[in-house]
């Protein structure tokens, strides 16, 4: 097994970006990972087609937190059309590590939230 806890993942885990709540989001969702009971709440503000603000809260492991942190960083300023193109492979590339079958679910929790926000 090689190291999945790279500097960048640890950094996003220990200092998650866009962590917190938005007062009046356009939309808000909550997703859970039944394997561990982890939950992520994600909220978003759209200005027409464009994301102007996005935040998340919840408890999660390093992988799910880093994934949510990096994903929210990426999606700010993007359009709905652009966001629809984000898939599993994008997330894996974004994290830059290869995960086992069980841990990949942690990484994809934030993607599930994003899909529900669109």
């Amino acid at each position: 097994m090689f190291n999945i806890y790279t500097e960048i993942i640890l950094d996003h885990y220990q200092h998650p970006r866009n962590f917190g709540e938005i007062k009046n989001p356009t939309k808000k969702v909550e997703v859970a990972n039944p394997l561990c009971g982890d939950k992520i709440k994600m909220m978003i503000v759209f200005d027409k087609e464009k994301v102007t603000e996005v935040k998340f809260t919840g408890v999660g492991c390093a992988i799910s937190t880093a994934s949510a942190s990096m994903l929210t960083e990426y999606i700010k300023g993007k359009t709905k059309e652009q966001l629809k193109k984000i898939d599993k492979n994008f997330i894996i590339k974004m994290l830059g590590v290869s995960l086992g079958v069980n841990r990949i679910k942690c990484a994809l929790l934030s993607l599930e939230a994003l899909k529900k926000l669109l």
Partner: protein, 429 residues
């Protein structure tokens, strides 16, 4: 004495994974050679269906299959016609919820269980209560991780004979069991806290309040680690899984009092369970056969017998005592090294615990801890261990769990400690 080095040689998995530190026997145990060989023996020497053929291969298979039934009966001090083979503990408990529960539970009846149950002994009863309008009562635990049913304010005299903490405490079920309670179902040993519930005493007190209450015990974590005597316990039903006690996957055991089994309706219908079938009606066989529809896991049942032999050869009393020692050592070492930064779930009565330690490490997520340990070939469970109500009650969403069996030793404990030190370094704690 338990000679772990010698024992490890009986488990081929250690040959193939020499550095393996397996601390997840609570999820499933490793398998010794005689069990594996017995599976191969069936498939290579007499792999016929049972009960169906008059030819000798089928007779041999049937004989071996029934031999396990007798063996299991002796193992728990029941009768062989009271032993039903299921797929696992979960199926045994669901069988009861259907065949017994749906027959006897009516609106406003009470079903009592505990907060420390595995989902398999929680959800079937919760759903049954919802369907029938029955009251679903859940016994909580106290600070130390024991069921909250001991009398408070009672001074206990220290008697000369050796009594366990639990035996010497008086059990009070007055607000829990009533005349309306039809079923009390609880685990013998918690798969998270390692708590060993005083089943015999609980049964005595419960049946004193209401002699008709039916007591069901989930023995999934007890059968591998503790001598069980169903008559002495005084329970009505007891379920466990082969795969947690050195046996193959795909087989479980449900034991029930014969009279009760006779009154119950079958759970599955089909081959083997019928006596006679007519166009307009069907007669069923007597227990246990009326609960064993279809071709069972023949090889696995047959090989389970070898698992029981292996356990008996070592001796369950010895296994229990050894594990207790090991889990206390593990507790001590973890506390020495990490102090308050390792939080053990329900650590009150560590001396009375089965070989299970669930914990949280710093504020790290259990997945991350388990992942880094897995890089060192240390197998540890992370998550809610199918006990979400318990985790909610304890105010955590998940935990790590290290569990010990008789093939684990001090070295495994030290490797766990070393592994956790590495986790600390990785997360710069």
């Amino acid at each position: 004495m338990i000679n772990v080095l010698k024992i490890k040689k009986d488990f081929p998995i250690f040959e193939n994974n020499p550095s393996l530190v397996y601390l997840d026997s609570t999820a499933t145990s490793l398998k010794p050679r005689p069990v594996i060989e017995k599976l191969v023996e069936y498939y290579s020497k007499y792999s016929a269906n049972i009960f169906r053929g008059v030819y000798s291969l089928s007779e041999k298979a049937t004989k071996e299959y029934e031999k396990t039934r007798e063996k299991i009966a002796k193992f728990i001090n029941g009768k062989k016609e009271e032993i039903i083979f299921t797929r696992n503990t979960t199926e045994g408990l669901n069988l009861l919820a259907y065949s017994l529960g749906r027959k006897i539970i009516e609106k406003n009846d009470e079903i009592v269980t505990t907060i420390m149950e595995h989902h398999s002994n929680f959800v079937p009863w919760q759903i049954l209560a919802q369907e029938s309008g029955a009251v679903f009562k859940v016994i909580n635990i106290n600070q130390s991780g024991d069921l909250d049913l001991y009398c408070k304010n009672i001074k206990i005299k220290k008697s000369k004979c050796k009594m366990t903490m639990q035996n010497s405490k008086l059990i009070n079920l007055n607000n829990i069991i009533t005349k309306k309670t039809k079923i009390l179902t609880l685990t013998y040993i918690s798969n998270v806290l390692g708590t060993v519930n005083p089943i015999k005493e609980i049964v005595m007190v419960a049946k004193k309040i209401n002699p008709k209450v039916i007591v069901i015990v989930d023995a999934a974590q007890a059968a591998p680690h503790k001598k069980i005597d169903v008559l002495d316990l005084g329970v009505d039903f007891l379920a466990f899984s082969s795969h947690k006690m050195l046996g193959p996957t795909g087989v479980g055991v449900l034991w029930g009092k014969y009279d009760l089994l006779c009154e119950m309706f079958p759970f599955n219908f089909g081959g083997e369970m019928i006596a006679e079938v007519f166009l307009d009606k069907t007669f069923f066989k007597d227990p246990p056969y009326k609960f064993e529809a279809g071709t069972p896991a023949i090889a696995e049942v047959i090989a389970l017998s070898e698992a029981v032999s292996y356990l008996e050869k070592i001796g369950l009393e010895k296994i229990e005592a050894y594990e207790k020692e090991l889990v206390q050592l593990a507790y001590q070492r973890l506390k020495e090294e990490f102090g308050k930064n390792i939080k053990i779930l329900g650590e009150g009565n560590i001396k009375e615990r089965s070989g299970i330690l669930a914990f949280n490490f710093y504020n790290l997520h259990p997945h991350d801890v388990a992942q880094i340990l897995s890089e060192k070939n240390i197998c540890l469970r992370s998550g809610h261990h199918c006990a979400q109500p318990l985790h909610q009650f304890l105010g955590v969403s998940s935990s790590c769990r290290a569990s010990f069996y008789f093939y684990n030793d001090k070295d495994d404990v030290e490797k766990l400690v070393e592994g956790l030190k590495e986790v600390k370094i990785k997360f710069k704690l």
